[in-house]
Symmetry: C2
Subunit: 471 residues, 2 copies
């Protein structure tokens, strides 16, 4: 009912408008550097407004306007603050560039047999990527210890690398996102049910807060464990969907379904540009769609769940005998999949038959998702993408046969380019998003106070700061 | 990118703001009469703005402010225009009431063996409801003739009844919505595929425009058939979902799944308050989910589609031999369902077994929708609602067993209260919505021109009028 009142001239909340405009400017600059005049044209804002926005963003260390003298590959600012400071008073024709290193975000995926860690910068670019084999079902505490170790290592590496890692104006950590394969109560960060990990009601947020508070997450006092969404835990497929959606695929991404294959099968929906989370955050539980009423027993206790037909376990069992190295949990999954790909490319009958059966089962379930939501794009993620050259044609033929709408509703089947890092990448995007929505969460540069004060329009509103700065 | 610029003071489009505020006022008044002061409080608009909005709405015949002297049951205005005109200059303490009879909308559902017609008023209330047995698959032209006859009859009846049906200021027909059971290309109003009607690529919009142009739809010239969304054709389950969503169920309706049973089974999703239409308008095609891989042949040519297990045909075949009156297409469906309900309430074994089997199949498919979208509410519509006392408990137990999220994700199973009129009601809502979004589509009352001109704020912007007025 109040929706329209925001638009009333004279009644708008000026601080909210300012934050929204800063966000518009930052998002525009994520697409690449541009002059203030171009920025004004791109955003439909006046040149005076853009000028004032750029001044404030520079004051927070989020843009720099003088072209860096170093030959940095990406848009990270030159490693001395005076350069960035010069930007705040730069000439209108000078290009404005996002100072991507000013804000970093960490994402971690824990899955059945690996941990994956990613650091993204403000531009959404990957700065660090790491994946290690780890037996997560072996223990909750051991897993929490290992995730905490990984996060600490990532934070140390990323902040040390960052161009902003100086004594006065260090980079800011937007937060830590953690992806888990199971039903997650996102408001508490509790893993409610994760059949493949054999976890039930694991308070992962609190376990990690215990281990990270004070040091990596300085805004969390060590003695208590308050809920804080800068330490976020969510379902891995939901976060992977966020990562696909945060990419650069254009309008196609406004209506997509992701199906991602691992030991479990996860899914995510984007409808009209928005991620579908469900009323309790449990949307996208596609792995347990009852597609084969009399099928095999699933890890969840039911029979005939979709993932019993096209999860990683089903594929490996079909493709190779138990003593084959593709079953070895201590090998990185990418290597094991490479073995299968080699065999298939060499015409190995058993491997090809396994790919065909898994592809048909994948297409069967996918046809249900397509009938239900009529997406523009079906993205195959996880191991489905790695084996995409074999699986995609089979999926496409199943969709053609099973989807009611003409031409399968026009759906295009694509392969995720994020590989096994999708969920971790999405987790990092998730904690980066609040900063993109409200750049005033980033504290002003300490050296910038006087410059900022010169212009009345760049006065920094009193907002909660994002985080203590990490030295 | 331009989203935030709308909020910039001084840059807002004043005409758009005005339309949005008129819409806010009309929607608030749909909930019941209130004083200008209450309206201001409810909408967060200033009293001066509300006063000006009320004056303009009165000038368009959309509200009246003097309490009617008649004892009309609903909020229709007193049947003379001077009364409504008095409202335009009424005192601030007087209640403002929606003049619901000023705008009417017609909705028609054509289905396998019946036609249903509904007239809604501006308040969304049903003014006329009619349903007749009709053999739609028997012929496209015969069906188009009959639908046109029904629409003409409804328009004549509704406009004759309307309090505004005077020579100077008649009621305005917002449009005609038509619901069809199949895949509809909503941008052209073509029924692409409707297996149960045996229709393929039927240009229903154009067939109806031919028959209604000039007379019932005076804005459509008879000699051409331009596309016009005031004559709208869409999928019946999509429109039924719109009707559920347009009800008064509050926040629950922001995340709902509708499953509606007839000869086919249709579905609709509302996610976070928005109807999911899909990239090509084909979302919600749940009837052909492949739930039983080796099942019976479906009307669509595939095997084991969900509707072969819980569509009306499956129920009737399970419940009674072929010569039983429940199979008689010339009887109204409600009567046939009453026969079954009587038998079940009297403990008839065959009927109860049929209900149980259909309920289990319904629950099986519904569990997929719930796993995928985690809705707050699952609404059973169509014949499922009529048999709800027997089907709902079975569906609930299937959901409890099959949904992965704890407590079935918190979903509540409800029965549609719209009965077999849901799709027709939704079709009428669909053509009413543009008027609610922009009340300036309704032309000013002819007797009001001078009054409107007295106030500068009530000047009527030059917008396309909704329709020629119907004499």
């Amino acid at each position: 009912m109040n929706g329209a009142t925001r638009q009333l001239p004279g009644r708008a909340d000026h601080a909210a408008v300012r934050r929204a405009n800063l966000a518009v400017a930052v998002r525009a600059l994520r697409a690449g550097e541009r002059s203030r005049a171009q920025l004004a044209a791109d955003t439909s804002l006046t040149k005076a407004t853009v000028s004032s926005l750029v001044t404030e963003l520079a004051g927070r260390g989020l843009v720099h306007t003088a072209r860096p003298t170093t030959t940095a590959v990406d848009a990270a600012p030159a490693p001395n603050a005076s350069n960035a400071r010069a930007g705040a008073v730069g000439r209108p024709g000078q290009p404005v560039e996002l100072a991507t290193g000013r804000v970093l975000a960490i994402g971690v995926e824990l899955n059945v047999d690996y941990l994956c860690g990613v650091v993204l910068d403000l531009g959404g670019r990957e700065r660090v990527l790491t994946r290690t084999a780890f037996d997560v079902p072996a223990g909750v505490d051991a897993t929490a210890d290992e995730v905490a170790r990984l996060v600490t290592e990532l934070a140390d590496r990323a902040l040390a690398d960052s161009a902003f890692a100086t004594a006065n104006d260090p980079a800011v950590l937007a937060g830590v996102g953690v992806a888990a394969p199971g039903l997650v109560d996102g408001t508490r960060g509790t893993v409610r049910v994760a059949p493949n990990l054999r976890w039930r009601d694991v308070p992962l947020h609190d376990l990690l807060a215990d281990r990270l508070a004070g040091h990596v997450l300085p805004w969390l006092p060590g003695e208590s464990r308050p809920w804080d969404d800068r330490l976020l835990v969510d379902n891995e497929a939901t976060l992977a969907t966020l990562a696909e959606f945060a990419g650069d695929g254009g309008p196609d991404e406004r209506d997509l379904v992701l199906v991602t294959g691992g030991v479990g099968v996860g899914g995510g929906l984007v409808v009209d540009g928005r991620l579908v989370r469900g009323s309790g955050g449990f949307a996208g539980e596609v792995g347990h769609l009852a597609v084969a009423p009399d099928g095999d027993r699933c890890g969840c206790g039911r029979r005939g769940c979709w993932e019993t037909l096209c999860g990683l376990g089903a594929l490996l069992d079909l493709a190779a005998p138990p003593n084959d190295p593709v079953h070895r949990h201590d090998l990185d999954l990418d290597e094991r999949l490479d073995l299968l790909l080699d065999r298939a490319r060499n015409g190995d009958e058993r491997t090809l038959t396994a790919f065909d059966r898994v592809g048909r089962a994948l297409g069967h379930g996918a046809s249900m998702l397509v009938n239900l939501t009529n997406p523009r794009v079906l993205v195959l993620g996880g191991y489905f993408a790695r084996l995409g050259e074999f699986l995609r044609p089979v999926v496409e033929s199943e969709l053609a046969a099973r989807v009611v709408a003409p031409d399968a509703g026009g759906v295009r089947v694509t392969l995720s380019r994020l590989g096994l890092a999708a969920a971790a990448t999405g987790a990092a995007h998730a904690v980066l998003a609040p900063v993109l929505d409200d750049p005033t969460l980033v504290p002003p540069l300490t050296g910038q106070a006087s410059t900022a004060a010169q212009s009345p329009t760049s006065a920094v509103p009193e907002t909660p700061t994002l985080a203590e700065e990490i030295g």
